[in-house]
């Protein structure tokens, strides 16, 4: 009986092995050899040399910090902004469907497209919209990607993820028990107290989901950086580091080592996130 059960799940396990474990093992192997595409006669085992080189690189620290800062920035903006928008949208009675559609639309713009739109139409310091606005006030245009590369990318990505947070929080707000609110009002609770004591705890779970989902996607953020600043110490994250090792330096060994470091980093982050989310789900 047990044997048959194992037999039945074996295709799934095999598929899992082939699709996730094999590439991981191959990447680990590549990260331990000297494998540079443009240099003849590479392929010898070098132990942890690729890792040592990566971790002692002075641009590695900033890359890690950038990765965390980007995630943090987008999480804060999308959750705070998304909550605000959700609260406003909840009040709207007429045309809520149309409004909701408009609000969600940035989420459907492909990342490279939205990055290009922001870069060339909005933030461009000579011909961009923001430059025009600041010229109305007699101010010098702000050179976004030169002066604040990480914050500019954060802004673009936040704009993309705001609708996601807003939509999840809005659905959750709509499920908030009206009788509970009326009871609180009868007890003389102010709007702020209702929000703080009843709505926020009610939203803890969806917020945890938003944090989780966004973090997973933001760890692999790439297109926005590639399109706007093209990397550099001010705006590279771990995913971009892997790309530049593989496709600029053609160093497969170094890229694999960076990839493994990124996997470890993501797992550490996921460990803490799962614990935090789990706690909010228990509460």
């Amino acid at each position: 009986m047990r044997g048959r059960g194992r037999l039945l799940v074996s295709p799934a396990v095999a598929l899992l092995l082939v699709s996730s474990i094999l590439p991981l093992v191959a990447t680990i192997w590549f990260s331990l050899i000297d494998y540079r595409l443009l240099v003849p006669g590479t392929g010898r085992f070098v132990g942890l040399a690729n890792y040592v080189h990566l971790l002692t690189d002075p641009s590695f620290g900033p890359t890690l910090v950038n990765t965390l800062l980007l995630i943090g920035m987008v999480l804060v903006v999308s959750i705070v902004g998304g909550l605000g928008m959700a609260l406003l949208l909840e009040r709207v009675v007429l045309g809520r469907g149309v409004l909701r559609l408009l609000v969600i639309s940035p989420f459907f713009v492909m990342p490279p497209v939205s990055a290009l739109l922001w870069k060339n139409l909005l933030m461009q310091p000579v011909a961009g919209f923001f430059a025009w606005v600041s010229s109305l006030f007699g101010l010098r245009a702000f050179d976004w990607f030169a002066r604040a590369p990480l914050a500019s990318i954060g802004l673009i990505v936040s704009w993309q993820w705001l609708p996601f947070a807003c939509l999840i929080l809005l659905t959750s707000l709509q499920s908030f028990d009206r009788e509970q609110r009326e009871a609180a009002q009868l007890d003389g609770a102010s709007a702020f107290v209702i929000f703080r004591q009843l709505v926020i705890p009610h939203l803890a779970r969806p917020i945890a989901i938003v944090v989780m989902m966004e973090t997973i996607f933001l760890l692999s953020l790439f297109a926005e950086i590639f399109v706007t600043t093209g990397g550099g110490r001010g705006s590279s994250n771990l995913a971009f580091l892997v790309y530049s090792q593989a496709m600029v330096r053609y160093d497969v060994g170094a890229a694999s080592a960076a990839g493994i470091v990124a996997v470890v980093f993501a797992n550490v982050l996921a460990f803490f996130l799962v614990r935090a989310v789990g706690r909010s789900l228990d509460a």
């Binding site: 540079r36 595409l37 443009l38 240099v39 003849p40 080189h53 690189d57 002075p58 641009s59 870069k119 461009q124 310091p125 000579v126 430059a131 010098r140 245009a141 050179d143 990607f145 030169a146 002066r147 093209g230 990397g231 550099g232 110490r233 001010g234 530049s244 496709m247 600029v248 330096r249 053609y250 160093d251």
Partner: protein
């Protein structure tokens, strides 16, 4: 084991390709510049006159092309039969034995007709590995109307000092005119091309004979100080986002008073259809500090055959047609002499029809002839290349160093710090690559 995995996609591709009997299908991967797009259009003409050969085109943006072709050739994928490669790749790939020799092209190819610097750029250790399709050098472009209004005269050969002072004088942001446009976008083929060429004219070199980076020398300090100060004081806002295309668009719209860049820009700027300031655009040679090397770079895109291609014979027939002397006449008969790819053959510059149609022919020829990739710097160097160093590590180093200099232009770091970082980063990468044993 590894090679078997890598072969899989190639096998799958080979399985799907339509194979008409008796026909050789050549897969041509090329960069998406104007000359190549025209070549693709005229390829139909080739297929008409060579019914045994069918061309399959893959036209890609420069960096994407480089990534696709490099990875394919490195793992012996054999997807491509003809590839467009640049002056940087030719010696690097030839050294790897990735390219088939083109020494046996038929006499009708007339390799003696190639301009000597271009011929040198496609040759590695005496063997020709690519057939050049176009060539470029550097030129100073400026607005004659703004110059005469400000009482300035462009010298026969300008110095950097003259250009930066003139730029400061002509800089007029309130009227949307910026004194000096230079490449600022980080990248080994973008800002580093400008900076390294400039550095050579200041007597600097990228590496000394022992492959030690030279960013701690006074020559480099002078170069970066001039470059950063000029762009910060007289450059357009957002200069660190500007590469060749952005600067071309700005100059053509009349937003730049002076621009130092590739001769590729000249046909666009001479044509009133593509430039608002065509009538008032002047050309001068690249800046020269009188130290023995002017700011002349050399680049060429050429057609090459990967050593992994099984269709080298047919590929050579196509290359002889596309890069041979007859192609210029074909383009001229269809699209006029201005459309002929410039900068590869003496015969084009001897042609009175071309000289009449292209007012910039003389300055282009002069710019290309002045460049010397095999001996680019005032001092001796162990490498080939003016605006690049033809070693595999250079793409990574050039990009990282370019980001440092872009950060200096953006004001994130000082010029001194950028140089120190560039020095440290280059040393690190060269050490990791095993140059200091």
């Amino acid at each position: 084991m590894r090679s078997v995995w890598m072969l899989l996609p190639a096998l799958m591709l080979a399985g799907c390709s339509p194979h008409r009997t008796g026909q050789t299908i050549l897969t041509v991967a090329t960069v998406n510049n104007g000359d190549m797009v025209r070549l693709k259009e005229l390829g139909k003409e080739f297929e008409r006159t060579h019914p045994g050969i069918h061309l399959k085109w893959l036209v890609l943006e420069e960096n994407v092309l480089r990534q696709r072709v490099t990875t394919d050739i490195a793992i012996r994928g054999g997807q491509y039969d003809v590839v467009t490669i640049g002056a940087y790749e030719i010696p690097v790939w030839a050294k790897q034995k990735w390219l088939a020799s083109l020494d046996d092209l038929p006499p009708s190819y007339r390799k003696d007709d190639l301009l000597p610097p271009i011929r040198a750029a496609v040759t590695y250790q005496g063997v020709q590995f690519a057939a050049p399709l176009n060539g470029e050098g550097t030129v100073t472009m400026y607005r004659t109307d703004l110059f005469s209004k400000a009482g300035l005269t462009m010298p026969a050969t300008p110095t950097w000092e003259f250009l930066t002072q003139a730029a400061a004088k002509l800089n007029d942001p309130s009227h949307g005119v910026y004194g000096l446009c230079l490449r600022g976008k980080a990248g080994w083929g973008e800002n580093m091309a400008t900076i390294m060429t400039m550095a050579n004219s200041y007597g600097a070199r990228f590496f000394d004979e022992k492959w030690r980076p030279q960013f701690d020398t006074p020559e480099w300090r002078r170069t970066i100080a001039t470059y950063v100060t000029a762009l910060r004081q007289s450059g357009p806002p957002g200069a660190v986002a500007n590469g060749f295309n952005e600067n071309l668009a700005m100059f053509a719209q009349g937003k730049c008073a002076i621009w130092f860049d590739s001769t590729v820009a000249l046909p666009f700027l001479s044509d009133p259809k593509t430039s608002k300031v065509a009538a008032s655009t002047g050309f001068a040679p690249a800046p020269d500090e009188g130290l023995g090397r002017a700011a002349n770079w050399l680049w060429t895109w050429g057609l090459a055959i990967p050593a992994s291609s099984k269709k080298a014979a047919a590929a050579k027939i196509f290359i002889e047609w596309a890069a041979g002397p007859g192609y210029a006449k074909l383009v001229a008969s269809r699209d006029g002499w201005l459309a002929v790819p410039p900068g590869t053959r003496k015969s084009l510059y001897d042609n009175p029809d071309y000289r009449r149609a292209a007012p910039f022919a003389a300055i282009t020829l002069r710019a290309i002839s002045a460049a010397n990739p095999n001996d680019p710097a005032v001092k001796h160097v162990p490498y080939v290349g003016v605006q690049y160093v033809a070693i595999p590590e250079f793409q990574g180093i050039g990009t990282e160093v370019g980001q440092q200099f872009a950060a200096a232009v953006a004001g994130q770091v000082s010029a001194e710090d950028a140089l120190a970082e560039a020095q440290a980063a280059t040393k690190r990468q060269m050490a990791a690559a095993g140059y200091y044993k």
